[in-house]
Amino acid sequence: MKLRLGPQPLEWIDRNVSVTFDFEGKRVTGFEGDVVTSALWAEGWKVLGRSFKYHRRRGLMSFANHDINALFQTAEMPNVRGDVTPAKNGLSLTAVNTFGSLENDKGALVEWIAKFLPVGFYYRAFYSPKFLFPKWERLIREMAGLGKINTNWSEERQPKRYRHCDVAIIGAGASGMAAAIQAAKQGVDVCLIDENPFIGGSLDYQFANQRSQSLNRQYLKETVASLPNIQVITSAYVAGYYGDHWLAVNTDQGLIKLSAQSVVVATGVFEQPAVFRNNDLPGVMNASAAQRLMARYAVAPCNAGVVLTANHEGYRAALDMHENGLIVKAILDTGKTEGVWVDEAKKAGIVVYEQVTPIEALGSREVEGFIFGLNGMEHRLDCDGILMSVGWAPAGAPLYQAGAKFGYEPEVQQLIPVSLPDGVFACGRVNGVYVMEDRIKDGEQAGLAAALHVKGDAIPEWKDFRDGVAHSHPYPIWQHPKGKEFVDFDEDIQVKDLKGAIAQGFDNIELMKRFSTIGMGPSQGKHSNMNGIRMLAKLTGKTIDETGSTTARPMFHPTPVSHLAGMRFRPERVTPMQLFHEEAKACFMEAGNWLRPEYYPTEATREDSIKAEVSAVRNAVGLVDVSTLGKLEIFGRDAAELMDRLYTMRMSNMAIGASRYALMVDDAGVLIDDGVAVRFSDEHFYVTTTTSTSDSAYRMIQKKVIEWNLMVTVLNRTGQIGAMNVAGPNSRKVLSKLTAFGLSNDNFPYLASRQAKLAGVDVTMIRVGFVGELGYEIHVDASNALMVWDAIMNAGKEFGIKPFGVEAQRLLRLEKGHIIVGQDTDGLTNPFEANMSWAVHFKKPYFLGKPSLMKLKQMQTRTLVGFELLSDAEKDQPLESNLLIEGKEMVGRVTSIGQSDTLKKVIGLAMVSTEYSAEGQELNIKLSDGRLVKAKVVKTPFYDPEGWLQKSNEGSGEAA
């Protein structure tokens, strides 16, 4: 193991247990506790991936859960993050985004033509001609990308869990632990969350070899462990902050929805890379990455490195290398840093150059040297690693999401929170506090404040613990005439790309981001946005505050869809007739949250079964379960008034025992619901709604009752009442066997409703039907519904009765030209377009949407028409939503279509521009494959246009 160090004081690895896995077909051996990247690095694998655009070799850079150039592919998973994924026996990994192999990536040819691919190239090059775009798109998708998704995936769901606490603390570094202790001491419940497997934060890598911190470390960790009201959640990141202090905490076992009373954000900072030529060569990394590598995994970043620094943290990293026996060729300070670690480094004999200008990293596969400027001269140092310590950016995502405002503090050269929402507190480095003792104090005051907030007590005045020293270089960007100074490592964005974007006028942070794609890769700008903002500010002559920063939205890290989806807890409703449907082996479909029989497989194929059902209804008798209809009962002094106001037709003049089509529009005059209304008595109505709108219609009607101040009660009876429709020429004969009630046209005419005994129980019968045959809709208490259904099926045997499902019903109603709201209408369709001006009674003083309908009546531009297909070849059958084309214009779309055996043709409904709606008009329907087929506008209903069959007296024993 080339780069494995001797035992480290706080290492996470277990040297007694080794693990072995495959990488690019080669064997890799590491220790239990290693992550993929550390095991690879220890064995000298420094090239871990290829970059997104130019396919340049890349190694580890931040080593902090956002190393997106060290992503790996397994058989099942794309984009496995090497910096956090445990090395496990049997893993088999390859690099992502390579053509051939990691070592011989043919995609690297892109770099040779890179100068012809300036930023925004894609936007402009592919804008025209448009017909080439699909080709380009395919090419780009092939070339630029990350891992490959396993398309043979199987559904995977992780349950969501709920947790509650008083104070949630994000980040268990020094300030987070201190906050937890202080809050817990106030007696409140605390959740302390950290994305790492162990708490400790930078205390355990930046200060791992700093003996003076061992007491602080011991105190903080032991106290956190000893306080029973601190719950520690590790290996979990806060994916997002949501209103009222809800945190989405992602763990390997799924999402925790954590509800807190107050939140302490102690998330620390992201180290930012220096921008100089070839800063992406494997071996160039952030100093904190090197420290994590050494302290957690006992792996050397390199054997002989240089440290480029602008702060005293860089000196600490150099000391860590030095104390591990590694060679520090030199510390290259861009300024003249002072501090304890500076003195220690000098005392240790490490060469320090001050006022250095970085120029470029050298190396073909990996870093081999570094060129820098000093006193106007260029110098070269040979090295196999470069550590960058030039600054930090706040890990402020939860603060931004909670509504905190950030401002630039020149004293620390960092964005810090300047205003915090109620109950949200920030401490530690995210708050600009760097000295360890101060971070602990800052954490203590935040923990105390958070606990007092929970108790509703006054919060003491906030103390500023910032040390007044800049820990970030104000402009760590050194452009090189030959380029390749990377600002964004996810998207391969160089200095010239951002300059180009700004020069072309994309000089606003939001525009620059979208045009150049900086910060839009998988790490979401965690190591690029700050440098991007600094560049934009400098080039536009603005301050950082004037330039602004972009809000980091959830998710903080890429979060598996299986975690977001959670378990499927959608209830399925079944009708009272479910037992029959199951015994008949019906094929079910989902309708809203209901299960409905799509068809009953009585024949060999689905098509034949549906045909048999249709034929039974047209020639004998059929029975359909319509229990899923919404059913509302409306009674009270103002019931008739309410009905008049809700529906477009006049309802108040309806006779008792009559039924009427009930059409509802919204304020904009858009058709939203239809059903049948029945009047039981002067002050008592019963009305059905479509299956999918039953809840929303009930809700809306309740609201209107309040708004209109009516004396009326509305009951939602949907689940309490079962409903079925007996339809077909024999339907009267069937029902006659089950009731003494007179069913003749005289006693029970078309459109009437009657309450009677059927099969021995009370039912409401309505003589209506969607399918256009003599028919009766029967509404009965849910507890009796199955019994009535069975009785009808038995009584109907001798008349050839068949149950029919949704598919047959759809075709039957299409033959009658009846619309389905939501299928033949869209979010803009009004009753006039649907040929239902007969259902709009403008003489009423008031109804929902009336002013809109009065206007719409004068400006109709579309009409729903019936059509028949002129070509009957089966392969030419259009689909619903296929477009109607006239010349080059789109003039409409197919809303319903079906092969009618009854009529021996393909018929359908289409919404067309009114100028193409005249009977006999030829229409061109564009099939999904682009071919055009001809159709002709015909009159509806297609079947029984006069409606004689519905009004028939057939089977009443009287003359027709």
Partner: protein, 89 residues
């Protein structure tokens, strides 16, 4: 997810509620001009403000009126929607 303090049930999750639009007086249909009606139906001013909103509590089937600041998403007041009530929209 937010919480709502219900006057009779106490703290409830907002996910139990369905939004029902801003509380607003419908212009009188007999006298309304086309422009006023279009303003009422389509032209909503989205500028942040404190407004009264309809919210429906699904488990109990009760309509509420919330007074909410659309800038801060703070719910200042929760009331039952009652027949005959008058509110300044």
């Amino acid at each position: 997810m937010k919480f709502v303090t219900c006057p009779s049930l106490g703290k409830r999750a907002l996910s139990e509620f369905t939004y029902g639009g801003r509380y607003e007086q419908e212009p009188a249909q007999e006298t309304v001009s086309e422009k006023e009606w279009a303003d009422y139906v389509f032209y909503h001013n989205g500028a942040p403000k404190v407004q009264i909103e309809w919210w429906y509590h699904r488990p109990t089937g009760i309509w509420f009126l919330f007074e909410r600041d659309t800038l801060t998403d703070r719910i200042n007041k929760v009331d039952f929607a009652r027949k005959g009530m008058t509110h300044e929209a």
